[in-house]
């Protein structure tokens, strides 16, 4: 346990200073969060009863700290919620199997092993889908019934555990190990999934980028870079317009990368986007987070690009790994929609120091610099989301979220009295 605490502290420190060191992307953060939670789970002592509840409690406790350390990085909260969901799903599948058959352990063991052997790199989505299939058919009916059903889950699971504990004490230890084992397996899947998300998205590039098209993007995103490069590798010839993405000018870096890989690249200022958009066939951008309503939190300036694209009926495509899917709505007070950064990115302090001399005049600052990091792009401006599971409409995002998250976990703050 002290090891875990040290790990957590280290990660908390990294999260807090992520802004200063600028080394963490949301992809890396998501991956590290998942790895950290895996070690939390693996080192968590599991009591004989309320196993799932104990795990959920432990993960929530850590998750709360992580989210508090950097509320702007939504990927952390997303991963925490997904891990919670995984625990619930695994627990549910175990209890259903236990209640369904007499010969409990061999069946579930077989299931786990076949899973492992046949599909070593099965995506988490597939695992989730498979588990859902065994439990209930993914019909609209079940989705509608999802809410009462899932609230009932912890209850049934714990009661199942209780009865288990009373009836078969020998089976308890195997079951507890089983749950932890399954959860860690699923977590490994999740980590693998995050690792491969760029490739998974990039694989779909040829379906979207056609010969001699002009693509516009703003700022820099690793997902976009790999997406474009994947299309290039498939011998598609196309041109890329890059809006530089003031004030951080990451578009410059993207231009450098693309040119290094032999792509025809044009760099434009952000303010020239509207003038250029009529020549563009498709806008492809990355996102900071995709909200439950299909809205996108994206680098500043993208709302303007989206509006320009809409005006000229240019498709506005957003690439986002599934770790960026956030089950919260943008009106949720927990979601810190924006982050105001230092004015020094816009102005040179020395040059403007005389404008900020409070010693003369009325003493109140006359110059106020606002430097927001993010824009909110409403769902109606987005044509398509490309995630690692394929292309989706903004109106379908809620459905993806239902796949990945449990309703119980939307609020991460622990209630005074935990489960049961």
């Amino acid at each position: 346990m002290p090891d875990v605490q040290a790990l957590v502290n280290e990660f908390l420190f990294k999260l807090k200073n992520g802004e200063i060191l600028k080394i963490e992307g949301s992809h890396a953060t998501a991956r590290q969060t998942a790895i950290l939670l895996r070690s939390v789970i693996s080192q968590q002592r599991i009591p004989h009863t309320h196993q799932a509840a104990a795990l959920i409690d432990a993960v929530k406790a850590v998750g709360e700290q992580l989210v508090a350390a950097n509320p702007v990085e939504l990927a952390v909260g997303n991963i925490v919620r997904r891990v919670l969901h995984i625990i619930r799903e695994e627990d549910l599948s175990l209890t259903t199997v236990a209640m369904a058959g007499l010969n409990v352990s061999p069946v579930s063991d077989d299931e786990g092993e076949t899973d492992q052997d046949d599909h070593p790199v099965l995506s988490a989505a597939a695992v989730a889908a498979a588990s859902r299939n065994t439990l209930r058919p993914p019909s609209l009916q079940t989705l509608l019934e999802d809410l009462p059903d899932s609230t009932a889950i912890p209850h049934t699971s714990s009661s199942g555990g209780d009865s288990d504990g009373k009836s078969k004490s020998a089976d308890k230890s195997t079951r507890s190990r089983k749950l932890k084992h399954d959860v860690i397996e699923a977590l490994n899947e999740l980590i693998g999934d995050i690792d491969t998300c760029h490739e998974q998205i990039a694989e779909q590039a040829v379906e979207h980028i056609h010969q001699n098209e002009v693509i516009l993007t703003l700022g820099s995103s690793r997902t976009v870079l790999e997406f474009l490069c994947a299309a290039k590798e498939k011998k598609r010839s196309f041109r890329v317009f890059i809006a530089e993405g003031a004030p951080r000018y990451q578009g410059h870096l993207l231009a450098k990368e693309l040119v290094a890989r032999g792509l025809q690249t044009t760099l434009i200022t952000d303010s020239a986007v509207f003038a250029m958009i009529s020549r563009v066939n498709m806008v492809i951008v990355g996102a900071h987070a995709v909200m439950a309503n299909g809205g996108v939190i994206a680098p500043v300036g993208l709302n303007m690009v989206a509006l320009a694209a809409q005006r000229h009926a240019v498709p506005f495509v957003v690439l986002a790994g599934s770790h960026k899917l956030c089950p919260l709505y943008p009106h949720n007070p927990e979601v810190l929609l924006n982050e105001l950064r230092s004015p020094s990115e816009l102005l040179d302090f020395g040059e403007f120091s005389d404008c900020m001399d409070f010693g003369s005049g009325t003493g109140s600052p006359l110059l106020h610099v606002v430097n927001p990091t993010f824009d909110y792009v409403p769902p109606k401006l987005v044509s398509l989301f490309i995630t690692d599971t394929g292309g989706h409409n903004p109106s379908y995002v809620y459905r993806l979220i239902a796949d990945y998250y449990s309703n119980d976990d939307l609020v991460l703050q622990r209630k005074p009295a935990p489960t049961n």
Binding site: G350, G361, H368
Partner: protein, 725 residues
């Protein structure tokens, strides 16, 4: 002690692999060793004073942690107990990769003492960051540190890297936006070496004297007055031993930096690192406190801003127009909270209250119809209905009874009570403690007479100051109530401390317009004066050619002085040796060469000869003869070599052409005379001639005139040579 200390440090800097393994250390001085924040600092150390609702030291520690410092030695002196108990209750002792060690001292009175003590502890093993607890920054140390280490590798004398930032001083008051006096630096633009450091340049009235050796030794230097010293230094361990070796170094800048710059025997060098996109500043006085608070609210210090950096669970929300509000606030609907305002947790604000450009701390109760403008209200303050606060600092626990008014620049120290409807005059400082009667003449001795037990500070200090205790206390209470209105408690400190000018320069309040007008008037007057002298004040980066003007002026004065001396010598029959002595002293005071003396003396001699009565050219020549005869010894003593002799000839030419035209026909004769008297050698004359060869006709007049003489000279020489053969 010194030798074993230095040796490992040297080894470390030699081996790059070792270098990486040494954890980055920092020395944090949790004491400013200054009195600018009195009376507040009598009761609480400066580093614990809240800056936008967080103690200053939090910013410093948060920055050190984020910048990758792993071990901090926190030096506390004044109120050490308070600092330590604060740290014990904070998160800093529990950080895994960030070790905070406190070093306590009660008899250190300056930064120099602190560093000497740290040296004795022998805890610093490599390069370290030296910072004081009232500095905040968001710069990345990586580059500065790397530069420092690379320089250190090449030149072991590069002991310190000073972080600087560009910041224009106010053109009117000449003080920086942080309220500090103007700062002048000379920096080598290529190596970034600091060559000159001068504070308080506004007292110099636009002139600055720089050792001319600076110009001689460096191919180029940049002079800048738009620099702000961030007081963040990256030091090599040698710095500590330097402080120990020079036990009189007290102040980091005034003694240490200047000491190193002036004293080139040791050859230690200081370099600068200018930051551009990040922020660093030190709270030096109340104006700096105001400016830095506003910078924090304006997010220049990002991520060290209220909504990101929060202590405990008092989360703050950033709203439109730079309004920061904690989540639990009781705010009346009709209260107006203006832009750039921070409101702390559990504060209640009454109806029709207006707050703009201010910071309000935790658990404050603000009544109705209160006006708070540009003020800093700390925690647990009660402000009753109808009060007005403009540009004031109000410390913890203050009670302002209804209708009281704080004029701009007021500072209310802890637990002061302001009586009903009382108007506190501008720039007054009010404290429960009486103003120390004996003034420390030395500014360095901040809390020197203030040990740090946690007794009630009021009684303690009063004991100390007044000698006897409780009786006086009650007397004082009565006295106090009269001073701050009915029911008030506290003393208004008189403003004898420092000049009156200090007050408006360093207060939180903006400089009143009439003062600005006053200074502008003074500056304009100065400018007029200066423009008459055709000698404008040098601005940043340029060195006006006024030194040359001065040099010429000096030469004229010098010549006059020499002439006066010479004439006096002639009239009073002073011995030649004495005259030489006097001329020598003149030479030194005007910083002249021997050649200048010779020229001046020759000039005086010619004038003397001319002034004597003469009717014809021949008589004049005779006069010259006599004078030269009498004074040749004097002249000769300034002619050690050929160059000086040539100088005399050139001077002679000048005299003939300009001042004393009567002598010009006699040029050749006098030259001959000088030759005969062995005052001027033939080599000098030949050199003079060859020098003049390429000159224009006008300049060659005398060469032509002397042609016969020169020819004769050459022939004589040849004859000599032939004779020799």
């Amino acid at each position: 002690m010194g030798a074993p200390k230095k040796a490992p440090a040297r080894a470390v800097s030699d081996d790059p692999e070792d270098l990486a393994s040494v954890p980055l250390q920092a020395v944090l001085l949790a004491d400013s060793f200054a009195t600018r924040f009195r009376p507040i600092t009598l009761e609480r150390p400066k580093v614990l004073l809240p800056l936008v609702n967080l103690p200053m030291i939090e910013y410093t520690l948060a920055w050190l942690e984020s910048a990758g410092v792993e071990e901090v030695f926190l030096f506390c002196c004044a109120h050490a107990k308070q600092v330590i108990s604060y740290l014990e209750n904070s998160q800093w002792y529990a950080q895994p990769k960030f070790k905070v060690t406190t070093i306590e001292s009660h008899n250190s009175v300056s930064a120099g003492d602190a560093l000497r003590l740290i040296y004795e502890r022998n805890v610093i093993h490599g390069d370290f960051v030296l910072i004081s607890g009232d500095t905040l920054s968001n710069m990345s140390l990586m580059r500065a540190l790397q530069e420092h280490k690379e320089r250190k590798k090449k030149d072991s004398n590069a002991v310190m890297t000073m972080v600087i930032q560009r910041s224009k001083p106010s053109p009117i008051t000449q003080q920086s936006r942080l309220g500090t006096d103007g700062l002048f630096m000379a920096i080598d633009p290529t190596t970034k070496q600091l060559l000159y450091y001068e504070e308080n340049t506004n007292h110099l009235k636009g002139t600055l004297s720089i050792d001319k050796m600076l110009l001689v030794d460096n191919s180029s230097i940049t002079l800048r007055n738009d620099i702000q010293d961030c007081y963040i230094d990256i030091c090599s361990p040698e710095v500590l031993s330097l402080f120990t070796d020079n036990f009189d170094y007290q102040h980091l800048r005034r003694h240490f930096v200047k000491g190193l710059l002036v004293d080139d025997i040791m050859g230690y060098k200081i370099f600068t690192h200018e930051i551009h996109s990040s922020y660093a500043a030190r709270v030096d006085n109340y104006r700096g406190y105001d400016t830095i608070s506003k910078d924090i609210i304006q997010r220049w210090t990002y991520p060290l801003v209220p909504d990101v950096l929060s202590l405990g669970n008092s989360a703050t929300n950033l709203e439109r127009q730079g309004m920061y509000r904690a989540f639990e606030i009781g705010q009346s609907r009709s209260a107006q909270i203006g832009p750039h305002t921070v409101i702390g947790t559990n504060t209640t604000i009454g109806s029709n209250t207006k707050i703009t450009n201010s910071v309000v701390g935790k658990n404050c109760a603000i009544g109705s119809n209160v006006l708070i403008e540009g003020s800093y209200v700390w925690d647990n303050v009660t402000i009753e209905d109808g009060c007005e606060l403009r540009h004031a600092i109000v410390c913890d626990g203050v009670i302002m009874k209804s209708g009281s008014v704080l004029k701009p620049g007021v500072v209310l120290s802890f637990k002061v009570v302001i009586g009903q409807n009382f108007v506190v005059p501008p720039y007054s400082k009010v404290s429960l403690l009486k103003q120390p009667t004996k003034q420390d003449s030395d500014e360095e001795l901040e809390y020197a007479d203030n040990d740090s037990d946690t007794l009630d500070p009021a009684t303690r200090t009063m004991d100390k100051l007044n000698g006897d205790s409780s009786l006086e206390f009650s007397e004082m209470q009565d006295h106090v109530s009269s001073e701050l209105g009915y029911g008030g408690a506290g003393y208004i400190w008189s403003i004898c401390e420092g000049s009156h000018e200090e007050e408006w320069r360093h207060s939180v309040a903006p400089i009143p317009p009439e003062k600005v007008a006053e200074i502008t008037q003074v500056i304009e007057d100065d400018l007029e004066l200066v423009s008459q002298d055709s000698n404008a004040p040098a601005s940043s980066g340029e060195l006006k050619p006024d030194t040359q003007i001065n040099a010429e002026d000096d030469a004229v004065y010098f010549e006059k002085e020499v002439e006066a001396t010479f004439l006096r010598a002639v009239n009073e029959n002073v011995e030649v040796d004495h005259v030489i002595l006097e001329v020598n002293s003149l030479r030194l005071s005007y910083n002249m060469q021997a050649a200048d003396c010779a020229g001046a003396i020759f000039h005086s001699m010619m004038k003397l000869a001319l002034d004597a009565t003469h009717s014809s050219q021949n008589e004049l020549l005779r006069n010259v003869h006599e004078t030269v005869n009498t004074w040749q010894k004097l002249l000769k003593s300034y002619l050690p070599g050929k160059d000086e002799e040539i100088e005399v000839i050139l001077k002679f030419e000048e005299i003939c052409l300009e001042s004393v035209r009567e002598l010009s026909p006699l040029f050749t004769q006098i030259l001959h005379l000088l030759y005969e008297k062995d005052i001027i050698t033939e080599e000098a004359i030949e050199d003079w001639e060859s020098e003049k060869k390429d000159a224009d006709e006008a300049d060659r007049v005398f060469v032509k005139q002397a042609e016969i003489f020169l020819k004769w000279l050459r022939e004589a020489e040849e004859d000599d040579e032939e004779d020799d053969e």
